[in-house]
């Protein structure tokens, strides 16, 4: 179990995160927040790249700093801007990272082909990475994070650059993996984690806003999410009065999904989704 105990992170006079309190047990956790909210900062503290200014992070009750390499052996990390050696092929690169992770040669010989198969890169395992597309490089990043079968997987925007088919494959990999490990994913693509996350963590104003299941979070907007058809000539005035979550162009107007506390004539109430909550909670940041 990973415990984040009243953690605050400041850079000089600027506070990035304040009093974060979380307990993570095996399962998938989606970290949702707009840019600059502190997602990457939190993840970096979990993988020991930065240290909390106040508070501590514990693994099974022991501070991770005290555990040192023993803790890091349990961590797999995919950074947002994933770096790699362009002159290496994926096999060589995974060998390099695997060695740093303290995985034996025999184990690497076993794991690397399996992982490359998982991320559909087995056929190009001998090709230099400088010839890879962005999506392929991202898949190498996922593979290296999975090396050593870590107990904690921290993935910062893992689906960036992946096409829908790859994203679907990625979701299924994660679902399999999450059975007996902590998987923490940050993403802007709500649909990627909505269906697989056990718990969603939302950060707002440097603090945890929500850390709960999807249904529980969506409950907060129960009775406030509606859909209706708005003609083109009324669209602008409608948009200025209501928070529009999504819109779909139709002939003569738009099918609009919006959030309001006051009922609107002609609007049909619909069950709230996670994206609705995201856009509602962060409407000010989004406008900014």
């Amino acid at each position: 179990m990973l415990t984040i105990d009243h953690v605050t992170k400041s850079y000089g006079s600027f506070t990035a995160l304040e009093d974060i309190q979380l307990t993570l047990s095996p399962g998938v956790y989606g970290l949702l927040a707009p840019n600059g909210a502190g997602k990457t900062t939190l993840m970096q503290m979990i993988v020991t790249l930065t240290r909390p200014t106040v508070g501590e992070i514990l693994w099974d009750g022991v501070p991770i700093e005290a555990l040192g390499s023993e803790y890091r052996a349990r961590v797999g990390y995919l950074p947002q801007q994933f770096g790699f050696y362009k002159q290496y092929n994926p096999e060589q690169f995974l060998h390099y990272i695997g060695t740093l992770k303290g995985i034996s040669k025999a184990q690497l010989r076993e794991q690397i082909p399996t992982l490359l198969e998982e991320v559909a890169l087995f056929d190009v395992r001998k090709k230099k990475m400088k010839q890879f597309s962005g999506g392929m490089i991202q898949r190498v990043g996922i593979a290296q994070a999975l090396l050593g079968q870590p107990d904690i997987l921290v993935l910062d925007e893992p689906t960036a650059g992946l096409d829908p088919k790859e994203r679907a494959r990625f979701r299924s990999i994660l679902t399999k993996l999450a059975r007996n490990r902590i998987v923490l994913i940050s993403t802007h693509i709500v649909s990627d984690i909505e269906s697989i996350a056990n718990e969603i963590i939302m950060i707002q104003n440097k603090r945890i806003r929500y850390a709960h299941t999807v249904p529980h979070i969506c409950q907060s907007l129960q009775g406030q999410v509606f859909e209706m058809f708005v003609p083109d000539d009324r669209y602008l005035s409608f948009a200025s009065e209501h928070l529009i979550v999504s819109e779909r162009q139709q002939t003569g107007g738009m099918d609009i999904r919006f959030i309001t506390t006051h009922p609107v004539q002609g609007a049909q109430e619909v069950p709230p989704q996670l994206e609705d909550v995201f856009l509602f909670e962060y409407r000010d940041e989004v406008e900014r």
Partner: protein, 389 residues
């Protein structure tokens, strides 16, 4: 160990190898070619080397007073040969010159005779193949004049080498009294000392050239977050330095082997057993031979490899952009050439400076390097790894 080899492999690239070869080639041509081929340079130097070799062959690494009596006889013999040349030359006889000494005096006269004698002299020594005796005689005469003038030399230099504070005022007297007056290695030691100085600069240059960019690349390729979040984590910087040191050490070793071969081919190593300290020059604190000086050079080269890998790591780890990287390396090399070489390397163990001068300098440099390495490793351990830095 695997991690160490992985880091070493980063240096295994063709561009880097070409880099190193080019740097060595250019610096060899600019800095050391002349000293390496010194033995084969023009008549003056070549002849003095021949004389030095003859002395070593005949009398061994050092000479006694009796041996110097022999040298007097040899010099007189060459003088006789030169006189014979003068007497057989029609033009010189027409000028009224009968001995070689008269000829030497006439060339300084500012009149028609003097100018003619001077022109004949220049042609003979520079153009003709018959002037070898002159060059050999000149060198023997020069060495003899130093030997015979040694008492004056001792008096003049009583408060010279052995440092001004008179740590050893009878420095020269001791040399003279030891009956091991040596005159051979003067030029050789000068050449060897030049080579030491040049080799240090080459080692520093090549080490910095290859070390700094390899450390810089990891940061630029955004590998640091991945590396530091693994099991091995922040122990990696020290291993990276070890890999730099190993690769640079191998390159330094190869350079030493190549230079040793070139020196052997060009006759420098002929004088390895000859003591450095003698009447004319070679004022060093230790009673070393040329060979021992060369071994000392080897140690110094590895020492500066050690220091340069740390400085290169520092530049590569903290340079924010390529300009800082290139600029940092260039500035470090200039600092070495402009400050380290003249103030330290050219004065290695020189008796013109206090006995502790070299030790303090090298010790300070070594200490600075170790502290810098410690600081880098410590900073890397403690620092927050922020993305997009």
């Amino acid at each position: 160990m695997k991690i160490f080899w992985n880091e070493c492999k980063k240096y295994r690239s063709l561009p880097l190898l070409l880099f190193v070869l080019s740097a060595h080639f250019i610096t060899y041509m600019l800095l050391t070619d002349y000293d390496i081929r010194m033995m084969n340079q023009g008549k003056s130097t070549a002849s003095s080397i021949i004389v030095h070799r003859e002395l070593v062959d005949t009398y061994g690494p050092s000479m006694t007073k009796e041996d110097w009596e022999d040298v007097k006889r040899i010099t007189a013999l060459y003088q006789t040969k030169l006189d014979a040349y003068v007497q057989n030359d029609v033009e010189l006889r027409q000028l009224g010159v009968n001995t070689f000494e008269e000829w030497q005096q006439l060339i300084w006269e500012e009149n028609e005779r003097g100018e003619r004698a001077s022109a004949l002299h220049d042609d003979w020594i520079f153009e003709s193949n018959e002037s070898e005796d002159f060059w050999l005689w000149q060198e023997y005469d020069r060495l003899l004049s130093f030997y015979e003038g040694n008492e004056t030399y001792i008096e003049q230099n009583r408060h010279g080498p052995g440092h001004r504070d008179a740590a050893s005022p009878d420095y020269y007297e001791q040399l003279y009294e030891q009956s091991t007056i040596v005159a051979q290695p003067e030029r050789i030691f000068l050449i060897v000392r030049n080579l030491t100085t040049s080799a240090v600069l080459i080692v520093v240059l090549v080490t910095l050239l290859i070390t700094a960019p390899v450390h810089y690349q990891d940061r630029m390729q955004r590998m640091i977050p991945l590396q530091y979040s693994t099991t091995y984590g922040r122990r990696l910087p020290f291993v990276k330095w070890l890999a730099s040191m190993t690769v640079s050490g191998i390159l330094t070793f190869i350079m030493i082997v190549v230079y040793a071969y070139l020196m052997e081919r060009n006759g420098h190593l002929y004088f390895v057993d000859v003591p450095i300290r003698e009447l004319i020059s070679g004022e060093i604190w230790f009673d070393w031979t040329i060979g021992e000086w060369l071994w000392m050079t080897v140690v110094v080269l590895f020492f500066f490899t050690f220091v340069s890998t740390i400085v290169g790591m520092w530049i590569g780890t903290y340079a924010k952009n390529a300009l800082q990287l290139a600029g940092g390396v260039i500035l470090a090399v200039i600092a070495c050439a402009a400050i380290l070489l003249p103030l330290s390397i050219t004065r290695l163990f020189s008796a013109w400076y206090p006995p502790f001068y070299t030790w303090v300098q090298l010790g300070s440099i070594g200490l600075f390097a170790i502290i810098l390495l410690g600081a880098i490793v410590y900073c890397e351990k403690k620092k927050d790894v922020v993305p997009f830095e």
